[in-house]
Symmetry: none
Subunit: 401 residues, 2 copies
């Protein structure tokens, strides 16, 4: 498969516009009573019309059989190989609270926990303290000063917090300090390599000082750190694809993932309609738009088949607000499947539809998994969507003479 280095050489700037409409967790599984998936159950006249004029297929976000998290799912959509570019858990935690990550940051997911008088962990979640208590304790922890780097501590939710080490030349390949079972002391932060020694030392300094600061804050009298990770070193979409890309997403995690690859994050409201208003307002200013619809995934995770169907129908009813803009390329797909029957992300390939003046239509007449399986795009990896969209926008030069 072609590499980003080669795509970078072929990419050309022009006036054409590309819109990615991403319904999170779009792919589903058929309800036994009807034999139809969520997408097949939804009444989607607009998507079906677009599918009949466009070309369809199914995509594997990471690799066949692999269930992706949100990070890998979106990196694939943005054209990056999720098996090569790793967004660590600490970094994802930071993105999830709209934290403004800098190049070189090392982020970790923290837990408040309870230790007994011997220093052994007796509750790994500190009785799930309230988010308010969490915020007060984080303010205290944030006053800790470390040798050689800036420390940032931010509350997340309940017992969860974000701890960021900010400095130059930091590498975060460090083992978790969470012993994963009760009755053991928190582990020392151990570096996996020489480059990560500095961060491990800082983490241990932080933990020691945090223990003092939290001594009187039972049940949250200690902190465990997990998912140490460095800011991923990724080429931006501007660099690779010569695009001026914008993200429209009402959830922080997806704004953060978009920011990682260089997208401008546009302020928007919480509904799909808000997001499409944002698209209209900024349509002239960018040539690539990533629009993220969250609720398809949320209802899938809840096992709420009908509500997921409802969100898909809502998207369908609003589709003309995208097609009326007559972008050069429209891609409709998801970052992974979230079948309501499984109540979780899954490995099933995700239906995709691409419409462009320059697409070669297939025989698919309905945007539905069963139809997409025999579409002209075939079955392919998500990371190949970007080159395909770029080609249809006439933004890729010929390879070789």
């Amino acid at each position: 498969m072609i590499t980003l280095d080669k795509i970078k050489v072929l990419s050309e700037k022009n006036d054409s516009k590309i819109i990615f409409l991403i319904m999170d967790g779009l792919g589903g599984l058929p309800r036994p009573e009807t034999g139809k998936t969520e997408l097949e159950t939804a009444k989607t006249p607009n998507l079906d019309l677009l599918a009949s004029k466009g070309v369809c297929g199914v995509v594997d976000p990471v690799s066949r059989g692999i269930t992706p998290g949100s990070g890998p799912g979106h990196l694939g959509l943005f054209g990056y190989d999720p098996l090569k570019f790793d967004v660590g858990r600490g970094i994802l935690e930071a993105l999830g609270i709209d934290f403004d990550l800098k190049d070189g940051d090392v982020a970790t997911r923290g837990n408040f926990c309870t230790v007994d008088k011997k220093g052994l962990v007796v509750d790994r979640r500190a009785g799930r303290i309230s988010t308010e208590t969490n915020a007060e304790l984080c303010k205290k922890l944030a006053k800790i000063r470390l040798t050689g780097a800036e420390l940032i501590v931010e509350p997340v939710r309940e017992h969860r917090l974000l701890v960021v080490f900010r400095g130059s030349g930091l590498t975060g390949d460090v083992a978790d300090t969470d012993p994963q079972q009760l009755g053991l002391p928190p582990l020392k932060a151990v570096p996996h390599n020489n480059a990560s020694k500095k961060v491990a030392e800082m983490a241990n300094e932080f933990i020691d000082k945090a223990k003092e600061v939290l001594a009187e804050s039972h049940p949250a009298n200690m902190v465990l750190l997990r998912g140490f990770s460095s800011h991923p070193d990724m080429p931006s979409m501007q660099e690779i694809f010569k695009l001026n890309p914008a993200a429209i997403a009402s959830y922080p995690m997806y704004r953060g993932l978009a920011k990682l690859v260089g997208m401008k994050v546009l302020p928007t409201g919480v509904t799909i309609e808000d997001e499409l208003n944002t698209l209209h307002e900024h349509y002239d200013d960018y040539d690539f738009f990533f629009i993220h619809v969250k609720k398809t995934d949320s209802y899938g995770e809840d096992g709420n088949f009908d509500a997921k169907v409802g969100v898909i129908e809502e998207v369908d009813s609003l589709l003309p607000r995208i097609t009326d803009l007559q972008p050069d390329v429209i891609v409709v797909t998801g970052d992974h499947s979230t079948p309501a029957l499984l109540q979780s992300h899954s490995w099933h390939p995700v239906p995709i539809l691409l419409y462009s003046k320059w697409c070669r239509p297939d025989r698919v007449k309905e945007f539905a998994e069963s139809e997409c399986h025999s579409g002209g795009l075939g079955r392919f990896l998500s990371m190949e969507i970007m080159p395909t969209a770029m080609a249809h926008a006439l933004k890729l030069a010929k390879y070789g003479a």
Copy 2:
């Protein structure tokens, strides 16, 4: 995917015969009035019959979304990864005039240009001098002697010429001397690495001497060199596939590409019928034939939908001259798509049909893009056609016990 090294181990010589019928730029896009591509519009009873007895699919020559030049397009067909084996522009220019390249040659595309008294480029194409004038000037340039290598200068067409440096241990990773805009002097030839220093020095020596030779030849009073490239170091089809392969092509570029991979180039006439006469004359002498039909691409590039349809129909009417020979495997496909609507090569996958006594037929009844999308071969890379054809010719041994 399996590598050529492994295929080499599995390949076996036997008496079966494989014919590749390549219609250059075969894939198309539907004409809006009919919704049918060139191939779908053409009346092709013989190809349709073969498709219904055979197995169909679509191929991506390089990678999804990538529009291939003729070089990468054909390397893929011959079983070589076009992303790994690079045929540079200078080498292609040499192939295009039937120039007899030797291993180790470094070839460049030259331009005659016009410089003013200060030595600044005022016309990058020297007023597109006639091919005759070009030939006379090349004769003069060919008399230049260089230190350490043989120089060969050949006219191409109008202002274009071929400059070849022939010697031992030459590497041609050298930047273009064309400044790409007017009002600047020609650039010095700069090597990209140490290995290419020698060629850069020779190129500068040539340019200096050419300037003297051409001093009185206004408007063609200077030469620019582009696309420095070394003869690609490729294993031959004999080596990898144990074949005795022959090429039947009426255009020099395709004869040259076939020669690069070790094919014997058979002399032939300009029509498709001439090419098939050549096939019949030499049928007993080879076990692999590459037959190249150029006009499908030429008419595609011209935007002449109907004429492209006409060429496909001509090929169809002549197909019995191939099937009557009862080769063990027939593959019909293209090196890339050239939709008349786009008037250029494109990234769209190319329909393919494979017939063999040992193929497993699918449900495709017509050789057409929309049908091929759901064929039994699926969608795959061109470089996998060769192993597939070899298998159907029973020329590949079992892998592993």
